[in-house]
């Protein structure tokens, strides 16, 4: 077989595409990231906060944006669409259409003069048209690439042939108004589709006043209003007259769960949570008490931490939840407010007035995307999303083409990130023979030994066109720098970041024997790595650099006070020189990584992770506590897509057993774990033998189980069973099932209770599936589902609909009025308050199935072994709830499956593959370089108090156990993240943070 092409095309630069690109590029594949717009970032870049933690979206996303933007093995093609894909897995030819940007990416310095001078104002689509931008624009302030573009549809020159103001004023000569569309064919081994979604446009609904009243808006528009960088700077206002709203209403399911009016039968899965988030944030933003009401059908807070957020919104923040579907929104001319008419729970029509109405719009695949999918031979689901299989959750119908994010069904950010990892893993596994074949690895020249040299400081000051030079007197700062101690070379440059200036700096380092560099320019957050690379290329240790921010934090913010801005620049340069004199070269530790993985747990997740790793070429050991592989899936009947699980599970087990790279240890327990990322040493006891396993990474897939209910006569009457028992009987073809005349399901048994507040996520779908199966076995059977909220998220909603069509009766109860079960010899008498009839209903049943909560094993020892945290519910806590859902904060330890949170098989497999992908990123490096900016302990000064050991969230410090310094602290540089918390807390002054040590910081303070 010929070697596959070691490159992957990722279509779509939203969070899913970004994650897939990073996973692949960091594990040895070349990535071409194709984005339709002028910059990557997708919808997440538009969001103000993210649920359930209300993290700022841009803050958590921008490190990823920057990493993609300057990754040597990721090529970003903006304003580019896929035209066609030819070829087969391993060797695809993708033809792309590259629309003109009219700005030369290599030359644009993002100074913004073009936009300033551009005479044409247009609606800013990024801000949902709430404000104007110019025809020359940058998509958003933190855009990657941070380059301007000319909006062809609105540019006066491009439309009428006159103007060209941008070209005249551009100081970099970057404007290319004669650019034309081009086509390009790219050869890649695999393709990942991550094109995202569009928000449903409610203009077509005539009953909600969208488009007629400016105070009725979509949730995405409201997101921009809430955003600090949005049109109103985060100030809460009604667009109609800029008054501050007192009452805001959210209308759920606009463009979701409504086949008749909007053509979408499915649930968009994210709207309940984002509405809750927006309500909480709106209340926080408002200067006076704000009344927030969410009108909903079922509150779907089925994710990790979601139910807590829902409870807090209601109980702590006072958000009102009204169960109804609002049928009309009418602007009230007299009051200038909006009248909502809806059917109250008591059945009467109610009218309420609000200042703002937010339509919680659903997610949909844009029509153009559906057409493209058809052209590419990608099959679609009934909802218009890419069709995937429950056991291959990111593989499309075309071999070698994968999908992730909202195009694989509506979903939230963590699920998109998980799928991105899964898709990257699958694409990488297809091409593993071509790994590292197309990637570049810059070889650094030998590092000059500067020890013993007296400091020779070079100071480079940037004009940044007129961005700095227009305010700060750069030559004066340069001349001032010359007077500072040990400064032997100074220069000012027009654009320090340009390739030619980098070459000049490199040359001067050698010619002038410079051994400390100060760069005064934009911001270290964006440009320090670039200059560090330049130092490395010139043979200088990259930590001998100090970056001075004289643009973002000086010239741009003191534009009216040039003299004082210049004085500030001088002070800042003096501080930097004082620090740089005290810098010493730092060493990045190189650690070799053992290429083996240990997977704790042999359920579906564990097996999927082990297979994924093995297929990438990394052997895996599965440690399973029971005597057989399969975990909970052994008891399950069917997936939500109707796949029989038994056969698929058997297939999975066969694959695992046949894989020479996988070693399965059954009846096994971990007895001891030593080491850290790259070099774990674990002792496994199995069948009386103990073996020590060396492994570089660990995947925790230890699962969860069904709880044993303590209510509804469970365990007292054999007609009361759990969902898993029902599956067992269905799987076994138990004939008695069909004989039942009446079957009842009770939902939320042990979930969403004060002592166990989370939602178990899978039970609604599971019970509906089972109810449908019972109806199939015996269409005459009366089947009731007693529920609190039906949470059949995404396209699972089709099952809910189907069940109602087939005659399954759904009766809602609330926690204060739970169903009562009484046993008589003839039947179980189940009494429930009917929410429509508002009177008690007695159901005589032959079979009662309890949707029992999914509970974790609460394995304290496992948590202790790998130093990973568990939440109050007993589930393991991932590194970041949004962007790092399958890794722990502890390096080298990954997480998937039910041990993370209850989830169905497709999501478990996706997370297992994503965990494997994250592990592969680490394993593919073969060695790890730690950062040089780590803490260091001086054992002679250490008093051995152990404060550092107890403080550090990463377990980097420990007390030496051997040698003359036993009992004194030492820092493991492989684990240290360089925050300096221990350093500031050390009572003896025995700890220092290299690169930010006391001497360096105090020198800056003295020089200030």
């Amino acid at each position: 077989m010929t070697q596959p092409i070691g490159a992957v095309l990722v279509a779509g630069g939203g969070i899913a595409g970004i994650q897939a690109a990073l996973d692949l590029a960091n594990s040895g594949y070349k990535v071409i990231l194709v984005e339709r717009k002028a910059a990557i970032g997708g919808v997440m870049a538009m969001l103000d906060k993210t649920f359930p933690t209300n993290d700022c979206a841009m803050c958590i996303m921008s490190p990823k944006l920057v990493e993609v933007g300057r990754h040597a093995n990721i090529e970003i093609l903006t304003m580019t669409d896929i035209a066609s894909i030819d070829g087969v897995k391993g060797d695809f030819s993708v033809t792309v259409r590259r629309r003109p940007r009219y700005v030369d990416l290599d030359k644009c310095i993002a100074c913004g003069v073009c936009a300033e001078k551009c005479p044409k104002k247009v609606e800013d689509a990024f801000n949902q048209g709430l404000i104007k931008r110019k025809a020359a624009y940058v998509l958003y302030p933190q855009a990657v690439p941070l380059k301007y573009a000319i909006d062809e549809a609105h540019c006066i020159y491009l439309q009428k042939g006159k103007c060209g103001a941008c070209a005249k004023v551009c100081p970099a000569g970057a404007i290319r108004l004669d650019e034309k569309e081009t086509r390009q064919t790219l050869r890649v081994g695999a393709v990942i589709l991550a094109p995202g979604y569009q928000a449903y446009n409610p203009s077509g609904l005539d009953n909600l006043a969208y488009g007629t009243s400016p105070d009725v808006m979509t949730s995405l528009e409201f997101e921009r209003i809430l955003s600090a960088s949005g049109p109103y700077g985060g100030h809460l206002m009604c667009p109609s007259d800029r008054r501050e709203p007192r009452r805001i209403a959210w209308l759920q399911c606009v463009g979701s769960r409504d086949q008749n009016r909007c053509g979408h039968f499915y649930c968009s899965a994210v709207c309940c949570m984002y509405a809750i988030k927006q309500a909480i944030i709106a209340k926080e933003h408002s200067e006076h008490p704000l009344d927030c009401t969410i009108f909903y059908m079922d509150m779907r807070t089925h994710g990790k931490g979601f139910e807590d957020c829902f409870n807090e919104a209601r109980d702590k923040h006072g958000v009102r939840f009204q169960r109804t579907r609002v049928h009309t929104v009418l602007p009230d001319r007299e009051s200038g407010r909006l009248s909502l008419r809806y059917l109250g729970e008591a059945g009467s029509v109610l009218v309420e007035q609000f200042d703002l109405v937010i339509l919680s719009v659903g997610l949909e695949s844009p029509p153009a995307l559906r057409r493209l999918a058809q052209n590419l031979d990608i099959e679609l689901s009934p909802g218009g999303f890419a069709r995937v299989d429950d056991f291959r959750p990111t593989a499309t119908s075309r071999d070698g083409i994968y999908v992730c994010g909202a195009f694989a069904g509506p979903k939230d950010i963590p699920q998109s990130v998980i799928e991105a990892g899964s898709a990257a893993l699958c694409a990488g596994a297809d091409l593993s023979a071509g790994r590292h074949s197309l990637t570049v690895r810059a070889a650094a020249p030998a590092e000059r030994d500067v020890r013993g040299e007296s400091p020779r400081v070079g100071v480079f000051i940037c004009h940044c066109g007129i961005n700095i030079g227009g305010v700060v007197d750069v030559p004066a700062v340069r001349d001032f720098a010359r007077t500072l101690p040990n400064v032997v070379f100074v220069a000012d440059n027009m654009y320090s970041c340009s390739q030619d200036t980098q070459n000049i700096i490199s040359g001067k380092i050698e010619a002038e024997r410079l051994n400390r560099i100060v760069v005064a320019a934009c911001s270290p957050k964006t440009h320090e790595p670039l200059f560090q690379e330049t130092l490395t290329a010139a043979g200088l240790n990259k930590y001998l650099l100090e970056f001075v921010n004289i643009r973002n934090q000086d010239s741009w913010v003191h534009m009216e006070q040039p003299a004082r801005a210049t004085a500030k620049a001088k002070d800042l340069v003096r501080m930097a020189v004082a620090k740089v004199l005290r810098l010493s070269p730092l060493k990045e530790e190189m650690l070799t990584i053992s290429p083996r993985a240990m997977v704790v747990g042999g359920g579906v997740s564990g097996m999927a992770a082990a297979l994924a790793l093995s297929r990438q070429g990394y052997p895996a050991v599965i440690v399973e506590r029971e005597g057989a592989l399969g975990g909970q899936a052994r008891y399950l009947h069917k997936t939500a897509k109707g796949d029989p699980i038994e056969a698929r599970l058997a297939d999975l087990i066969t694959q695992v057993e046949a894989d020479p790279g996988i070693n399965v240890q059954l009846n096994a327990t971990l007895t001891k774990v030593e080491g850290f990322v790259g070099n774990f040493k674990s002792t496994v006891a199995a069948n009386g033998n103990e073996t020590v396993i060396d492994h570089g990474v660990t995947v925790i897939a230890s699962g969860a189980r069904e709880s044993r209910p303590s209510e509804y006569l469970f365990g007292q009457d054999e007609r009361v069973i759990t969902g898993l028992e029902l599956d067992r009987r269905m799987k076994a073809g138990d004939r008695r099932l069909a004989q039942a005349r009446t079957a009842v399901f009770i939902q939320c048994v042990g979930s969403r209770e004060p002592e166990r507040p989370y939602c178990s996520r899978i039970c609604c779908t599971h019970s509906i599936l089972a109810a449908l199966h019972l109806k199939e076995l015996n269409p005459e059977m009366a089947v009731f589902v007693l529920y609190r909220d039906i949470r059949s998220y995404g396209e699972r909603e089709a099952l809910y609909r189907q069940a109602r069509e087939k005659g399954v009766i759904f009766i809602r109860y609330d926690r204060d009025h739970k169903p009562q079960v009484q046993a008589t010899p003839e039947a179980l008498e189940i009494t429930v308050m009917d929410h429509v009839l508002r009177q008690p209903l007695v159901i005589p049943a032959d079979l009662l199935t309890l949707a029992a909560a999914i509970v974790p094993y609460r394995d304290e020892q496992l948590a202790q072994f790998f130093k990973v945290p568990m939440n109050a519910d007993g589930f393991f806590v991932e590194a970041h709830v949004k962007l790092n859902p399958c890794a722990f904060a502890t390096d080298g330890v990954f997480l998937c499956g039910l041990a993370h949170y209850p989830k169905p098989i497709d999501e478990s497999i996706a997370q297992a593959q994503a965990a494997a992908s994250a592990a592969t990123v680490l394993l593919a490096q073969q060695t790890i370089r730690t950062s040089g900016t780590t803490a260091r302990a001086e054992p002679r000064i250490c008093s051995g108090c152990g404060v550092c050991v107890s403080l550090c969230p990463y377990n980097a410090p420990s007390l030496r156990t051997q040698g003359p310094m036993a009992g004194r602290a030492e820092i493991n540089p492989a684990l240290c993240k360089g925050c300096g918390l221990c350093v500031a807390s050390c009572r003896s002054g025995a700890l220092q943070l290299q690169g930010f040590d006391d001497g360096q910081i105090l020198a800056m303070i003295e020089a200030a």
């Binding site: 103000d48 933690t53 993290d55 700022c56 841009m58 803050c59 921008s62 302030p141 933190q142 955003s227 600090a228 960088s229 700077g233 985060g234 911001s523 270290p524 957050k525 964006t526 921010n549 643009r551 973002n552 934090q553 000086d554 741009w556 913010v557 003191h558 534009m559 009216e560 006070q561 004082r564 801005a565 004085a567 500030k568 002070d571 800042l572 501080m575 904060a889 900016t933 403080l951 969230p953 993240k977 360089g978 925050c979 300096g980 918390l981 350093v983 500031a984 807390s985 943070l993 930010f996 006391d998 910081i1001 105090l1002 800056m1004 303070i1005 003295e1006 200030a1008």
Partner: protein, 148 residues
């Protein structure tokens, strides 16, 4: 020339320093009195940095990190918060006027809050006038020219 306060600011790299950068991108204007020392995390800031700043003639100090719960290093800012609460009490006890030292939590998206806080901090310190209390003054030693 009119007196202008010198304010030394300690910003964590991930949140407040980012907000300061974004304030620049948004061209928000604030007084140019602040001299920034960038540190990885507010948890890195030792009380002695603040004392040293006062000793070296800073008229005011501003410490700012990530919002509690948002720390890039998981929990560094919680320790910082506790540490500064204690230091604040101690300095008040030592006689430092209230308003010389400011603490804030500003996320990297809150550029408006950053600029507003910079304005507020500067105004507060301007109102207090120059800080003289803790400045290091060399002990006067009589020179004996005729030392044996």
């Amino acid at each position: 020339m009119e007196w202008e306060p010198k304010i030394i600011a300690f910003f964590c790299n991930w949140c407040t320093y980012g907000a300061a950068d974004l304030a620049g991108v948004s061209r928000l204007q604030y007084p140019p009195n602040i001299r920034v020392v960038r540190v990885p995390c507010s948890g890195r800031i030792s009380p002695k940095f603040l004392l040293s700043a006062l000793r070296n003639g800073a008229d005011g100090i501003w410490v700012s990190g990530c919002h509690p719960g948002d720390c890039h290093y998981i929990e560094g800012n919680f320790y910082a918060r506790r540490r500064f609460a204690l230091l604040d009490n101690l300095l008040a006890y030592m006689g430092l006027e209230p308003g010389r030292i400011h603490f804030s939590w500003i996320s990297s998206a809150e550029s408006t809050k950053f600029a507003a806080t910079a304005q507020k901090v500067t105004e507060a310190i301007l109102a207090l006038g120059p800080a003289r209390q803790f400045i290091r003054t060399p002990v006067a030693v009589e020179e004996k020219a005729e030392a044996v």
